[in-house]
Each structure stands twice: as C-alpha cells, then as structure tokens.
C-alpha cells in the first residue's frame, strides 16, 4: 500500500515537471517571436542551431564593436594627424600645455556632443585659474542650450589625465582649469634633467629662402632683416624637429654680368689664368656701370658678353665664376659674424630648369603671346607673369616658377618659406597663383609662407641712410655695433672685471645680439627704427639686459658652489618641490615655452618669443626678490643652500638659453 502510494506520488511529480517544462517552452517561444518582431536577435541565439544565422549575428556584433572602436579612435585623434602614443608626449618632449589642453577639450566636446563637427576650442590664460576654456559659449549657441549646462557637460567628459588638477565653472559658462601641481613639478624636473625639449610635432621637409643678396653688390641693411629673421625661423623649425633646407637665392645670373665681364676683360686680360686681384668689388661694379651708361660701344660688348655667358662660353663662365667667388667670400664673412648657416643656390642653378619649364608650360597651353612676350595668367594673379621676354630671355617670374617647382618636386618640400621685404607681396601672389594653375603647387598639400617685413628706419623715422645719404652698408653697421658695444661695456667698467678674452666675447655677443634682438622683438611686418642707443640700453626689453640677466642667474649656482651635474643629480632623485607662490609662478612661466613656439609656427612672427623671454626674466626677478636661493650669515659665509630653488634657477637658465639659441644670439658666462 505504502509503496504504491509512493509510486503515484512519483508519477505525479513527474507529470508536474513535464507540465512546468512545457510551460517554460511556451514562454520561451513567445519571447522569441517577440524578439523577432522587435529585431532583437541577441536574446535568443542560444536556441538557434542554424550555423549561418549564428555566424551572421556574431559578425554583426563584431562590426558594431568595430564601429565603436573606430569612432573612439577618430575622437581621440581629434581629426588631426597626431598618433604619437602617450608615453612620448611626456618623456621625449616638453608638453605644449595649451595645445594639449585644446586637444583634451576637443575630445571632451566630441564625446559630449558627437554631432558637432570641428568645434572651436578656445583656451586662454586665466586670472582665476591657470587656464580658461571658452568653448561652451560658442557651442551653446549652435546647440541652442544653456552655456553653463554645456560647460558642465564638457567638464564631465574630460578624460582623466595627469595634467589637470581640477575644473570649475565661472560666469555664464567659462571653464576654469587648474593644472596639477604634480604635473608642473614633473615637467620642470624634466627640463632640468633633459634640457628644453621640443613639444611633439609632425616633422616636415622645410625649404626656407632668406638673405639672398645680389652678386657683386654690397649687402645692405635691407638684407640684414631677411638674414636675421630667416636664420631665427630656421633655428626654431630645426629645434622643433623639422628637416630644413636653408637656401641663399643669390642674384647671380642677371644682365649686369655682361658689363662686369667686359670690364674684367679690359682691366685683367689674363683673368682666365690668374685670379683678378679685385679688392673692392663695389668700386669695380660702379666703374663698369659708369662705362655701360656712358660708352655705347662698351654697352654693345656687354650685351654680347651676356649672350656668350648664357651660351656657357668657357672664358665667360670663368669670368663669372671669379666675380661670384669674390662676392660670396665677402658675404660669407658677414654670415660668420652673425652666426648664419646657409647654402648658396643662385638663379644660375635654375637656368636649365627654366628652359624645361618654359617648354612644359608652353606645351600645356598655359602661355599666351603678348606683344612678343610670353605671359601667363592665373586667377588671383593681378598682373600676368612674363615667362619669356621679347628677346627670348627669362625674368624673375621665370626663375621663381622654376624655383618653386624645384623645391616642391625635387627637394620634396612640404613647407616652403620665403623671407623677403613686404614690397614683393604682389609678385609672390602672382607667381603662386600661376604655380597653382600649372599644377606645380597644391595649397592643401604644400604650405607656402611669404614672410614679409617692413623697412628699417633711422632715428629720424626716415629710411635708414648714412649721413651722406647713402644706403648703410651692412659691414659698416656691424663694425659700428662692435664699437658702440665696447664703449657701453667700458662705461660700465666691465673691462676691469673681465679678462681680455671674456671682454671680447661679451662685446661681440652684446653687439650682434642687440642688432638681432632689436629686429626680432618687433612685429616684423612693421617698419622699425634702428637705434644703437636704445638697443644697448641695459634696462628694459633689450638683448643687453637679457644677456646680463642670464649671467646673473648662472652666477647664483656658481656662488653656491653647486655645479650643473649636481643639480641634475638632485632632480633625478625626486621631482622638484615648489612651495612659494613666486616659485609656482616662475614654474608656470617656464612651462609656457612650448606653446609660444608652437604658436610661432602658425604665423611665423617671432616677437612673441622675445616677449616671452622678457617675461621669464621679469618673473624670475620677482622670484629672486622674494625667495632666497642661498642664505649667508653676516660674514658672507653660506649657511644654507635651497636646492629646489637652484633647480628652478637652472630651469630658467635653460629656457632662456634655448630662447637665445633660437633667436640666434650667443650667450656668455660673464659680462
């Protein structure tokens, strides 16, 4: 009896289970049907046995995942070609804080508002914090939202990183950014250990054309500006890691060579075998010019000489070479005095290229006949280029076209820079437009900058002339600079403290440094007034003051008896400690350099670098006035050395030296 009751119970249990199972199955099927209707396949893949279907579902999942990864990658790159991994940014390079912040905020905006294309991210220095981001204002307008709300949304989406300590909102939607102290300390420590290193930049092949005087003519103060600006830009770009080709586009192929060679033949008939002892090439030039203007017969011979030269007659080539060599040697002396490196590549280099180019342009139908000349028009070129003169000769237009073609196609330049006076703006506009038309130059691939500058004025605010009214010869000017510098240093009784060698070094550094700095510290597009009195002033924003300030900073550690190696060793042990408000201010100022440099590469104006250099020195003075680096007792004995402050001095000196180096100014240990 008991057993059979149990059997029934077991059976009942069994049936209940089967029933439950069936009910579950029904629910599942219903869910499947629902999922199918909703298009949500993931929910019931467990029950599907069709392999192909499962594979498709998996593939779909993977593709979706890939889309999300790709979207994130695009956002992380901010649409730019910056694929440097993180570790590079903070080890090999100084951080361009502003640029990095822009990047961080651009990403944050893109994450917060993925539909906004190319948002404008404005970040500037802030009085309330370190930096301020104003992106929310413009964005709010586009999105038709409350700027504060937008700002908060951006803040929320800022990816965590080592740079930012905190952010808060102020006003209608400004985001105040406070940098992490840890980050600042680490960056300063890096400067001490590794020196000033460039911010991360994608390297380019840069062809820069500057100085470019004419053979057989003297360099004058106009060439000075091109030389100084060009050299400084070259140094900046090289520091940033670009591959530079510095070219001196010498005027060595003009008609003036006809008269020069004719005059040479008359005065030094044996020039082909014996180098002519021409001491003053300028006088030689003036003599031949006088004959050319006054003597019809000579003029005819001069023209014949040009034709023979261009036909590569060996004797004429020899004469041309002699004249060029004398001239180049003169130029080289000036370049050496100014610390300029440049490769001579005159117009003659392009002769064969011009011939080929003319044929090419003609064949392609770009050239038009105009009164015997061949000209080329282009949209945006106000005046057509004269490619071939009526006598079959070439012009500046022709050589500049051949030149840009060579620099883009043969030299593989990504970025071409021409440093010339502002008067050539129209010419550049025209030949660049034609180069675009001819398919030589594509602005979206190659960057071309025409770096122009104003004229040099005398203290009377008129064009800089000698008292006799002649243009000022560069050599003369430099000599005067040396003399004035010497006087100034003697006035300050430096000759009593320095050894003769130190004195000469200081004199040269001050003289050339002042001439360059006076030029570079002004907005280059404006005319500037040349004044030795002003540039040699030991107060204010002058090279004389700044060079002196640097020697003072360097002397602090020297006085303390601590050498650079010891400071670096100290920094290697642990990051610098910063405490005093003025220490923090100096540290922040030091770290601005990379941003200043990156900014300069946008518009190629160098005066912000001078302003920055001056700012560093004034902030340093503030620091030095408030913070003891070395403490001495009444007897002048050192009782305490603050190593962290010495580290800060070291970083300041490093930054200043780097600025001077970029500006092309020699620094000295003592002056």
């Amino acid at each position: 009896m008991t057993l059979s009751r149990e059997m029934i119970e077991t059976q009942l249990h069994d049936y209940t289970l089967r029933c439950e199972h069936a009910e579950k199955e029904t629910d599942k099927l219903a869910a499947c049907v629902q999922a199918l209707e909703d298009g949500q396949m993931d929910l019931f893949t467990d029950d599907i046995t069709d392999k192909e279907f499962i594979n498709l579902i998996n593939e779909n999942k993977k593709l979706k995942y890939r889309i999300s990864i790709l979207k994130k990658s695009i956002a992380s790159m901010g649409g730019e070609r910056s694929t440097k991994p993180q570790d590079d940014i903070f080890s090999d390079h100084m951080c361009n804080i502003l640029g990095q912040l822009e990047d961080i905020f651009r990403k944050a905006v893109l994450v917060a508002y993925p539909d906004v294309s190319d948002p404008v991210i404005q970040i500037q220095l802030s009085k309330h914090a370190d930096y301020q981001c104003n992106a929310a204002m413009a964005l709010a307008k586009i999105l038709k939202k409350n700027p504060r709300e937008v700002g908060e949304m951006i803040v929320k989406n800022v990816a965590p990183g080592p740079m930012i300590e905190k952010m808060d909102m102020s006003g209608p939607g400004f985001i105040n950014i406070v940098l992490s102290q840890e980050f600042i300390r680490q960056q300063i420590t890096n400067v001490i250990m590794n020196g000033v290193t460039p911010p991360p930049v994608t390297p380019k092949r840069v062809v820069i054309d500057f100085s470019s005087p004419n053979i057989a003519k003297e360099m004058h103060v106009g060439h000075l500006r091109s030389t100084i600006i060009g050299e400084s830009l070259s140094r900046l770009l090289e520091f940033l890691g670009h591959d530079l080709l510095r070219l001196n586009h010498l005027g060595d192929w003009g008609t003036q060579f006809g008269m020069l060679i004719a005059h040479l033949q008359d005065n030094f008939p044996d020039f082909a075998t014996k180098s002519p002892p021409i001491a003053d090439l300028q006088a030689f030039y003036r003599e031949s010019k006088k004959r050319f203007d006054e003597d019809g017969d000579f003029k005819k011979r001069a023209y014949e000489a040009v034709v023979k030269l261009q036909a590569h007659d060996p004797v004429h080539i020899k004469g041309w070479e002699e004249i060029c060599t004398i001239s180049k040697t003169e130029f080289q002396k000036v370049y050496e005095r100014l610390g300029v490196r440049i490769i001579d590549r005159g117009e003659s280099f392009y002769q064969s290229r011009m011939e080929a180019l003319v044929k090419e342009l003609d064949d392609a139908g770009f050239l038009e006949e105009d009164d015997g000349r061949k000209v080329m028009f282009a949209d945006g070129a106000g005046i057509p280029l004269t490619i071939v003169k009526s006598d079959g000769g070439f012009t500046y237009d022709t050589s500049d076209m051949a030149c840009i073609k060579n620099r883009i196609e043969e030299e593989k330049g990504d970025w071409l820079i021409y440093v010339t006076d502002a008067g050539q703006a129209q010419h550049f506009k025209s030949f660049l437009a034609c180069a675009v038309r001819a398919g030589i130059y594509n602005p979206s691939v190659t960057r071309v900058d025409h770096v122009t500058f104003g004229v040099v004025l005398g203290e009377d605010k008129k064009k800089f002339k000698t008292r006799s009214g002649d243009t000022v010869r560069l050599v003369q000017l430099l000599d005067e600079g040396l003399q004035r510098s010497e006087e100034k240093l003697k006035e300050k009784e430096r000759h009593k403290e320095l050894t003769p060698e130190e004195f000469v070094k200081a004199r040269d550094a001050v003289a050339y440094g002042c001439i360059k700095y006076a030029d570079l510290c002004h907005d280059r597009s404006r005319d500037y007034i040349f004044s030795f009195d002003r540039m040699l002033d030991f107060r204010g924003n002058t090279a004389a003051y700044l060079l002196y300030a640097l020697t003072r900073i360097r002397s602090i550690a020297r006085t303390a008896g601590v050498n650079r190696e010891e400071i670096v060793a100290e920094a290697k042990k642990k990051p610098i400690e910063l405490d005093h408000e003025k220490e923090w201010k100096l540290a922040r100022t030091i770290l601005k350099l990379p941003d200043v440099l990156v900014r300069i590469t946008d518009d190629l104006y160098l005066h912000p670098l001078c302003e920055y250099l001056y700012e560093v020195s004034t902030v340093f003075t503030e620091f030095y006035d408030n913070c003891y680096c070395i403490e001495k007792d009444e007897t002048g004995k050192i009782v305490k050395i603050n190593h962290c402050r010495l580290m800060l001095c070291e970083a300041t000196a490093q930054v200043m030296e780097k600025c001077f180096a970029i500006l092309g100014i020699e620094t000295v240990d003592k002056m």
Binding site: L63, I69, D87
Partner: protein, 775 residues
Amino acid sequence: MVIHMVTHMMETAEKLSLLGLSEQKVKETLKNEALTALLTSIADQARAKGELTKSVGNLLYNLGTKLPRQFHSCLPFLVDYVADGRINQEAKLTAAIKFIQDHAMGDIDTAAFGKACGVGIEVSQDEIEAGVALVISKQKEAILKQRYRYNTGPLMGQVRASLQWADSRKVKEEIDLQLLTLLGPKREEDLVKPVKTKSDKREKGEVCAVLPVQQPEKQCVTMTEFLKTVTFHAPGDNHKTEGYVITENTHRLLKEHLEITGGQVRTRFPPEPNGILHIGHAKAININFGYAAANSGVCFLRYDDTNPEKEEEKFFVGIRKMVEWLGYKPYKITHSSDYFQQLYEWAIVLIKKGLAYVCHQKPEEVRGYDAPPSPWRDRPVHESLQLFEDMKHGKFDEGEATLRLKTILEEGKADPVAYRIKFVPHHCTGDEWCIYPTYDYTHCLCDSIEHITHSLCTKEFQARRSSYYWLCNALDIYCPVQWEYGRLNMHYTVVSKRKIGKLISEGHVRDWDDPRLFTLTALQRRGFPPEAINNFCATLGLTGAQISIHPDALEACVRDVLNVTAHRAMVVLEPLRVVITNYPNEGPVSVTVPNIPGNDAKGAHTVIFDRELWIELSDFREKEENGYRRLTPQQTVGLRHCGMIINVQEVVKTSSGEVDYLKVTCQPATDSNKPKAFIHWVAHPLKCEVRQYERLFQHECPEDPSVVPGGFLTDINPNSLTISVGLADVSVRGAKVYTKFQFERLGFFSVDPDSTPDFIVFNKTVGLKEDKGKN
C-alpha cells in the same frame, strides 16, 4: 670533404678523451653538439697550460657538466684554476661552483674565491690520520657493538667537517684501515645480510626530472607539511636556478625585487576565467597557495582574462568560490586585464627596440611548426609602430594584422604572436580595446609586475620558459623563475569544457556540478570534503611527469576524512515494514546513538524506537541460506544501537503472494542470545531521496580513440545514476546542504542543494570500502 670531417671528428674525440671520458662515453657525448663544443673549448683552454692528467681531466669534465649555463661566462676563469691544479679535488670544485653562483653578478674577488674553495690548502696524511682517529674514538662503543654493520657514511662527513679539504679517497682509505685495525678481519657473523625492514624500502616513484624535491621520509598528511619539504630557490636567488638568464640588469632588478617583496615568497594561481575548475586545477591551487603558505608567503589569484570571447561573469565568481572552498585566501585578486595599458606600452617599447613587428600573415599560414617565416619581420620600426597604432584604432579587421615577437620557442615555433585583434568587448575593460595580448606575451609580464618569486606551472609550459625569460629580459624588468610540475589527469572522466558541455546538452549529466563529474563544484556537491582533496594533492608530490590517477585514490582520501568527521545515521533504502507484537513500551522511546562510534568526544544523537519499524528488504530472507547471517524465520538478528534482537513471528503476505510485512517479537540482547548480525533500522522515518552514482564512463580513458573508437559519448555507463526514495532516521531532520553522514552499512552521503526543508536529497559520496561487495 669526408676525410676532413673524419679527422675533425677524431680530433674532437681525442679532446674529449683528454677529459677522462671512456670510448663509449665519447661516442655518446659526440651526439650532443652543444656539450661537445663546450667540452672541446674547455680542453683547448686547459691544454694550453700543459699536459692534462686524468684527475684534472675528470674535474674539467665535471666542471663543464655541472656549472649552470648562465654562469658560463666564468668558465675560462674556473678552467684556469683546475688546469693549473689550484682546484685539485671534487670538493674544491663544488665549492668553486657554489661561489660563482653566489657571486656571479659582480667582479670576482679572487682572494675570497681562493679562500672559499680551499685553493692552496693541502691536507697531509698525518692530519687525516689524526682526524679519523679522533672521530672513530668518539664512536668506538657503537662501532664495536655493530661491527661491520656500522654505517660508516657519517664518519666521512664528520672527518670532513674538521678537515674540509681532505681528499675524500684518502679519508675513506684511512677510515677502512683504522676500522680494520680496531675490529680485525671480518668474521662469519659480519657476512650475514641484515634483514631489510619494511620501512627501509623506498617507494620507487617517478624520478623527478625538474624539481629538486626531497622525497618526504614518511608520507606527509597535509599540503603545507609536504610543501615545507620542497626546496625551490630562495627569493632573490633567481639567478642560481637552472636555465635562468643573467643580464647586466639582473643584479639590480633582483635587488629591487627583494626591496619590494621584503624577501617574501610570492606565487599566483592564474586560471583563465573561461570555464569552471576541475580536479586538475585543485593541484595547481594547492601547489601555489600551499607553497606560499608553507613559506609564510602570499599567493595571488589572477584571472588570466586575455581572451574576452570565452569569458563570462559566472566563471569569475565560480573560480573564487572554489579557491575559498578549498580553504585558501588569495592575498590579492587581480586580472591580467588590470595591466593591459602597461602591456601595451611595453609592446611599443619592444617595437622600438626592434624586437617586435606587425605581421599580416593569415592565421592559417602561421599554423603548425613549419610555418613560413614572416615576410614582414624586417619592416622598419616606425612602420610597425604606426601599424600597431592602427591595429589599436580598429583600422584592421580581425586576422589582418598581429604583433609578433622576434624570438623562437623551444619547440621551434618562430615569432609567437603577442597581440591579435578581436572586436569583442571585455569583461573588465569594456569597449576600451580591440587588440588583446596572448598568453605567451601576458603571462610572464604579469608575473613580473606582481613580483612573483616562483611561477609554478605544468610541464607543458616548459617549452615556453625561454620565451618567458627572453621577454622579461628584453624589457629589462624583473624576471621570475618558472618551475614546472606534472599535470594531473583523472581516469574515468573528461574535464574539457567542451566535452562536459556536450554531456550536459545530451542529457548524460544534469549540469556542471553533476556529482558524476570531476569539476570542483561536482566534487563539492558529491560531498567531497575540501581537506580530502588537498590531502590527495599532497600525495601526488611535485614530480615533473604527467600523472594519471584512478578515482579510487581520491576516494580513499575522502574516506579517510569522512571516517572521522561524518556522523552516523540509519537509512533504509528498500524498506520492509516490521511490527513488533510484544513491544515492551507504552509508545515510542529514544535510543542514543554515538555520532562517531569510538569517539565519545564527538557526542551522540537520539533516534526513535517504536512498535513499527522498517528494515532493508535485503536483510530478511524467507529461506535460510548457508552463510546468510541476518533475519530469516529461523534466525534472529540484532537491531543496532537499541540493544534488541528480533524473531520472526509471522510473514504477512499480500494477495499476490509477496511479502507485505513481518510480525516479530523482540527481546533484549544478552550474552546468551547473541545474534549473528546487527542490522540498521528506522522508526518514525523521514522520507528522502537518495542518489547513488557509479563511474560515468566504462573505460579508464574515455577519450582514447584506441580504447573507445566511437568517442567518449559512446562510453557512457547507462547505470551511472540510481535514484531511490529511502527512509531515514530522525537525526537527519533539518540537515543543512553539504552536511555529510555515514549511513550505517551503506556508505557516506551528503545533503544535496536540491533538498527542501521537508524533503532531503542525499548524494552518495563514496562507499564504505573500496571494494563494494555488498554482502
């Protein structure tokens, strides 16, 4: 050409024989190119110093074979010492090798070296005689008593303790001589062989090839006890281990490592969270956690979660639960994915160093051992850097690009993959990555990050050891030491995730924790106590060989533990009702039953005795049979614990003639009416379900196609599960899940999680004896 080769061979052979090798040994050695090259270079260097005597040759040979590879830079230094006789005996050579191992990472201080290995010290015959005499005089009594049976081995040691650089042969001769003087020539009694006692027999187990395990003298009971006898390297002595690679940074890195760990042993248990743990993992858990515990160290539980496709949340939880169930507490729980960023940055370092490159060979091209070399191997660094970035950014599809390491595995496989693309979200890192590191790349680096001292793994990974060391050294990071032990395989089961899945989906077992399986959850459910599993692992030892174990061995360990822990209960599986007609009491009475007989400390419980009770159907037979000792109409039987014997009064039958119930009379058991047997019984019982199991497979190796050609699914034992409804005594009422009982005369049982408060389900854990003859 041929002649040239022959002469070359002869020259080499000659050189080898200079080192005291016999002709036969020379032939064998010549087959080992590396060793031959080493020995000939030693011979060349030594010969330059002059003729080699036989003893110098022997020492040189020992030097060449005993000095670990990583110290070979010191070989010329040592050869000089041996060749010119400054090191002129085995003991000095051993001391020299030890000195080099201890001081290899700096310049060798020759003075200290000379002192440490007795250079220039010669022990005279007089000193030996005096030393031996002293030692023998101390042991004189014992020697005289035991005569030539006296074990002279320790005497050698004692002499050497005072005369460290005494020549051992001379010492031996001197001892023999002095013993002979003392005892005189051997007599008849000295020639009788001593009877070997049982304990003298050494178990001849597998000889350990890799691990310096000292065989425990007696069987250790627990894992910790056993692992205390294991001598791996001491933390910080990494460089002294066989095959370790010493670089210029090793010294510094080991120093830093010791500063970080404080010299503590650090191990890790690194399961992939893609399945559940089985008995094989229990060994790994025990070795890693156990070794740390035995040395006051720490053990990490690291989920090796580098393959997101196969990982699921439940596996993470399950693994942790099982580790804790076995009684171990992880020092820290980490994930390989915790280090993805670091691993990625290191990959960039490797690319920059020219040690890794992006490859576009298809997976099917690279498979197998003769895979063609990658045409992308020598691509420029910047290109690989860019492409690796592209991989990370999702620019390549799965399989279109991998990052490969420029190293060759022992087994000859070239350039293992370090990173591959998978468009799959990760359990921990979400959608952050689409490139995932491989085991080869991740494992050693995570060990290094966690400053693991002993990276213990199964023998299969021996082939990865060189790439393990290579990678750590390529990155100039701390390099742990890898030790291998044999994998554990269990007979009569399968453990692979896929195969168990198949068993479940085809209905052969219920789930992952079906007690017929050997997953840890299954063993838990079946009622195996964790300490039994741990003890079982301790019995396996640390040999390098792969071990296949019969489940009986594990079950024996289980029985040992349950015998002294599981409380007794009486359960009737096939009930036969019995009514006592002369029941002496008014109603039900309590009977006290010891929880564990013979151990009063474990307490007792009560069961109810009453007029109506149930006994096993098999404990009654209507007809008397020879040898049947239990209840028949003619034969009484005792009821356990209640002190009664019963006598059949009437066999009541159903209408169909089957036995319905018995009417019996009872009387107290006395010395005079002693029954032949006592049986278990229940009164006022609880109904319960009892699940009894047999092996799931019929053959030892169900996966072996030579034994089971149809595949493991065809080898299933159809009778592996028997479910019955039984009657249990009241003491089991309210028993919690996993409570273990010994059902009297039936076996050990454990409460299954399927139980409800009203209806307990029991699983049979193991029988009472290994051979389960029931009668």
